[in-house]
Amino acid sequence: MSSREEILARVRAALTANPEPAPRIPRNYREPVTSERAELVARFVDRVSDYRAIVVECAQEEVAVRLAEAVPEGASVIVPQGLTYPVPGAVIDHGQSASELDRVDAVVTLAALGIAETGTIVLTHGPGQGRRSLTLVPDTHVCIVGADQVVAGVVDAIAALDPNSPTTWISGPSATSDIELQRVEGVHGPRTLHVIVVS
């Protein structure tokens, strides 16, 4: 008997010997909480900055200025294909190797959505967001999120996302609590995270 058949047989034997009906799943936690958009965006900004990410809110026409502030002077910058904002001097991703990405200082992308409750941005790695390694290897990640992309909580985020593409949930810069359970920012992922919220 293959391991597969063996495991399935053991599962069935365990369940047949001690059957337990599947319980009803109480979904009360999904009851929607209504919030004004302005309130949601304010909470999102507040909670992203709690992780010691740098957050700015701006109007559409100010994005270029904010981008220039976020990207260090003289830094090498890469952007994914499909980024709708111009980033002067940026290289467009054409499948550079990880080692090549390791020599790039910053990356600018869009996001799929933002979560107010937890201060999280989620990337689904489509146009404007780039493949996964793009936002991982460079040390600075600048992420542009539309105020209209902010959802209230994790429940709304899961409902809005398509699991067929990979997703990356980012809450602040890379961090660890492994030494004396005290949080320290900056380990393997980008050590600086800028979030630009565009109204």
Partner: protein
Amino acid sequence: MTGTFVGMPAFPEAARAALGNAQLRANLAAATSTIRAKRAAAVGELAGWEDLRLAGAAVKDSTLAKLDEHLLTLEAALTARGAVVHWASDAAQACELVASIAQEHGVDEVVKVKSMATAEIGLNEALASHGIAAWETDLAELIVQLGHDLPSHILVPAIHRNRSEVRDIFTSAMAAAGRAAPADLTDEPARLAEAARLHLREKFLRAKVAVSGANFAVADTGTLVVVESEGNGRMCLTLPEVLISVVGIEKVVPTWGDLDIYLQTLPRSSTGERMNPYTSTWSGVTPGDGPQEVHVILLDNGRTRALADRVGRQALRCIRCSACLNVCPVYERTGGHAYGSVYPGPIGAILNPLLKGVGVDQQTDSLPYASTLCGACFEVCPVRIDIPDVLVHLRAQVVDAHRGTAIPSAEAIAMKGAARVLSSSRLLAAAERVGGPVGRILGVGSSPTTGRPTMRRIPGPGAAWFTARDLPAPPRESFRNWWRRSGGRS
């Protein structure tokens, strides 16, 4: 090479040794009190926490009730999305599968995402025997690996180490494993984290094969989920060409939608954050993005044994958050090594006997007794595992497994005798008639609080009480005799 839990003494003995280590107790007390406060705040600000716990438990229970069907759905979804699915009945099979995939690619090293399943099966040691180095990339796992140490916590395996110990380990051991620690390394956590970044970066950039576990496996979409903090997980899941994920069969949840429970409860319960820095989800192979060869090993290794235990199966709900360790007054004092397993603390005290079975070795049999049944673990468990209930249930299994042995233990004899006395008022009164005077003879002085002599030691199985505790000598008149004499009117 890390150390081994094989041959660990039973819990009471291991705990006694650990309690003698003042540094360990100080490190643990500081770390657990920090995380307890953070968790309480993170849980407290979320309305409807109890609703999330109830839903989290119900989803797991309903999945376990039809586990075979969900596993087949998962297998089909993964295969449809380009992953190769393997099944491993036990640790040895799982390790062989990983080793043979690595060997097919001709590598002598793999990078690893922190994973309880791979720690449970002893993967690193197995790969080493095939000449393959397994590099741990989680900071705490790295500390354990470089220190030739053992993990003592589910989430933070190096919780027993403080910052200056970590500095010493990095300074002395990093060079032999790759890039050396900076010469001027201090014990500042930020500097230590930076040293790990520098040390591991070259390994991430060159690794061809990565090994991970998964926090969740979504059956209907074939999606695996890894919840992490540092970005080492993202490095392993994204940069190498080949990804092998070892996933316990209890990690399956039916739908993507069910994640909306656990992605709320897991980070708040484990690190006390609203959300962990990084969560990655992927469904098989994504053309042009990340590993183009994806293997998933579905692991049993005792889980079906736990599933067969009607009371104990709730332990398979566990999402490995560690909240029960952090609040456990026993764990806080003994640390994790005393439990002799990669799964320490309250969850380890039930999971190990459930996975391995009782009545086989003394160490495993001692674990259900490593608790005062205070219930703090159940109170914080995000999937409502009634750990005290399961502990009591497993204690009965341990006792039953030893019934009918030729020579009953002193404890079994004492319990039989006690039961006889405690179920009979006549025998109880007789015991008081004998015990009272004996106790008063053993007593010395006169306690200022009871006016009675104090017993400072007694012979026999109860002697352990008196190593650091007194007991008042029995009173001249028991309650029963007082009632008989006075009718309850003193």
